[in-house]
């Protein structure tokens, strides 16, 4: 990299990337602090940049009403997955870069005075990919919504399932959708907000299943990556393919809403989507907190008649591998068996 001598002439290509961002839509150079102040929407053309989960929560909820839950959840490398670097290293790097433990934050908040259960994803953490932690947080958010009979709001920003967790990531589709089905039966509303991008396994599970689906303008929303589509079928993709407006046109998004109007729209919907009082209470008094889910599934096979009540109690030998930090090789061995 050549030495950059201090220069006082504003040359656009020399703007440092951590102070300025170039709008990909109108090519305007935007000062980051101003962009943040405008909720990361280009003031010139209205392009919606990606928003961190933290900023998203601040944007949507009543001031200081958000109470985070399950902040300590962290993925375990159950497969011993190594691509160009080991999965635990990737997690550690993503944690350092974002300050988050995984790609979603969940908790409760109030929006215009309505108490809601919320889960918000962040694309900056490994492409917002859904592994065990994202799946667990979405599921717990749904279970809390069911238990308290309060609306559920999920804001998606994800490239899809997390490959490093293999079929466990795929099973999160069934896990999250299963929890949403219970909400549907119990008459508890779910608003899905899709931001750029919402694709793959996240779109094909909870994101598409909102009682009302909201999308931010021009967000990439689709099942298969555009390259996969083009490669598999060898045909030209139509303009605007897999964008919010395309989804709207084809009837899979109820409203395309700008970021500025998002909070107001959600608050408005919450006045209509009130959890119905006529439905029976949730059938099962199952504990929300199941700290060692993965091992429980294995134990299920060994102890066929495992009652609901002792599910949270770790059996001898189980606690060990689940409780220690995942970053050490020995623990990966233990989890792998």
């Amino acid at each position: 990299m050549p030495i950059k001598l201090p220069s006082f002439r504003p040359r656009k290509d020399a703007y440092p990337a951590d102070l300025w961002t170039k709008c990909p839509s109108c090519s305007e150079m935007l000062f980051n602090k101003q962009l943040d102040k405008a909720d990361r929407v280009c003031p010139t053309c209205g392009h919606h940049f990606r928003l961190s989960a933290e900023a998203r929560i601040a944007l949507l909820v009543d001031e200081r009403s958000f109470i985070e839950a399950d902040a300590g959840l962290q993925s375990v490398d159950a497969l011993g997955f190594v691509d160009q670097k080991p999965y635990p290293d990737r997690i550690a790097a993503a944690q350092l870069a974002t300050g988050m433990r995984d790609a979603a934050i969940r908790g409760t908040a109030s929006i215009d005075g309505h108490r809601v259960s919320m889960c918000v994803m962040d694309f900056a953490f490994m492409g917002g990919s859904m592994g065990a932690v994202v799946g667990e947080k979405v599921t717990r958010a749904a279970e809390q919504a069911l238990l308290e009979r309060i609306p559920l709001i999920i804001v998606s920003a994800s490239g899809g399932a997390r490959m490093q967790e293999g079929t466990f990531a795929l099973m999160q589709l069934a896990k999250t959708v299963g929890a949403l089905e219970r909400l549907r039966v119990a008459g508890v509303p779910f608003i899905s907000v899709m931001s750029d991008p919402t694709t793959g396994g996240v779109f094909a599970s909870y994101a598409v299943l909102g009682d009302v689906n909201i999308a931010e303008p021009n967000a990439l929303i689709g099942f298969a990556g555009a390259r996969v589509s083009a490669g598999t079928i060898a045909q030209e993709l139509p303009p605007g393919f897999q964008r919010s407006e395309f989804l709207f046109e084809h009837g899979f998004v109820d409203r395309v809403v700008t970021r500025r109007a998002l909070r107001g729209e959600i608050a408005q919907l919450l006045r209509y989507l009130v959890p119905s009082p006529n439905h029976p209470a949730p059938i099962e008094g199952r504990s929300l907190f199941d700290p060692i889910g993965f091992l429980t599934s294995l134990a299920d096979k060994v102890v066929p008649d495992m009652g609901l009540s002792d599910e949270t109690a770790p059996r001898p030998g189980e606690g060990l591998s689940a409780a220690v930090p995942p970053a050490r090789a020995a623990d990966r061995e233990a989890t792998r068996g």
Binding site: A17, N32, F168, L170, G178, G201, A204, E284, K301, G337
Partner: protein, 333 residues
């Protein structure tokens, strides 16, 4: 530990990585073998009769998805399964076993019929992936898959899912949310195709075999991970060598599972199914304070850099900061 829990021997594990890679890739090839028995082939061998049903009642009929009624050893079931073709002509007609949304909506229809008329569901999973084209997206492939998963999570009748060939991602799980999941020995099950995984993580699809191994996509791996409950051995060189024997072995397992699941009250069945899928995924809960990212470099740091005398001494290789090239949080792809 997993081995011990399942009463398996660690010695069965392949020891040499290269061998393991070749062995895994061989399985992927077997799972994709064009002569492998498909849903309707297996049913033709194992069922006393088959009545196929067609159409999603909204758009059309998808030949890549076969649904209907069958009688297996005297037991009436609803079957659902992807159907690849046996030759090029049939594959074109059946879209290489890649269903469109109408295929999954037909599956939903069939499963709801099963619930209404008290019939158990048997699903046969053999799919490279759901069809990824524009028409598939226009008609809502993601919505169809999500609804199909949702239907299965609340269906008040037993569901047996069998991975017979390729268990390809969302297109597979859409019909694989079973009370029990069975796999043929050379079947594979993964969150993404090994080629796709390699293209993203290794930046070349040549590493597909490495990716397949890393994802542990073989039936035996999935058994160890608990995603699959039973693996059924294939005859001879593989299922393609002997359709009748493969079907005979599968039938015995299906019949046993049907009889085991039949007396379970539907509330219990549903609760157990929810618990099963609820438990997947490995995570831990830590209490140490979250990591804090380094503070963003502001104007002040920048000026300090300029004034820093070491900048002028050490030369270009160490000057400035890496954030010029790599501003991760700011990047807009």
């Amino acid at each position: 530990m997993v081995d011990r829990l399942l009463g398996r021997h660690p010695a069965e594990e392949p020891a040499v990585p290269e061998d393991a890679k070749a062995q895994m890739w061989n399985r992927v090839q077997l799972a994709r073998n064009v002569r492998r028995p498909r849903t309707l082939d297996l049913l033709a061998e194992m069922a006393d009769e088959i009545v196929e049903i067609h159409g999603d009642r909204a758009f059309g009929d998808d030949a890549a998805m076969a649904c209907g009624f069958a009688r297996i050893d005297g037991r009436r079931v609803v079957f659902v399964g992807q159907q690849k073709g046996a030759d090029t002509d049939e594959n074109v007609r059946r879209n290489f076993g890649m269903p469109h949304p109408e295929g999954y909506r037909k599956a939903i229809r069939a499963m709801e019929l099963a619930e209404r008329f008290g019939l158990p569901v048997v699903t046969f999973v053999d799919v490279p992936g759901a069809h990824p084209g524009p028409e598939s997206e226009e008609r809502g492939i993601a919505e169809a898959i999500a609804r199909s998963i949702g239907t299965m999570t609340r269906l008040r009748t037993p569901i047996i899912s069998i991975i017979t060939g390729e268990g390809g991602s969302g297109g597979a799980i859409a019909i694989a949310v079973g009370d029990v999941v069975i796999a043929l020995e050379n079947a594979v099950y993964a969150v993404i195709s090994p080629e796709g995984c390699a293209a993203i993580l290794w930046r070349t699809s040549d590493e597909a075999a490495t990716a397949a191994l890393a994802m542990r996509m073989s039936a035996h791996d999935q058994l160890e991970l608990g995603v699959v409950d039973r693996v059924v051995a294939e005859p001879g060189e593989g299922a393609h060598a002997d359709h009748a024997e493969t079907a005979r072995r599968l039938r015995a397992v299906i019949v046993a599972e049907l009889d085991r699941l039949a007396p379970i009250p539907s509330d219990e069945l549903l609760a157990a199914r929810y618990r099963r899928y609820r438990a997947f995924g490995a995570y831990t809960e830590v209490t140490t304070p979250p990591v804090t990212p380094p503070p963003p470099r502001g104007l002040v740091d920048r000026v300090r850099d300029l004034l820093d005398p070491t900048r002028w001494l050490t030369g270009p290789s160490t000057s400035g900061s890496s954030s010029h090239d790599d501003p991760p949080a700011r990047e807009e792809a």
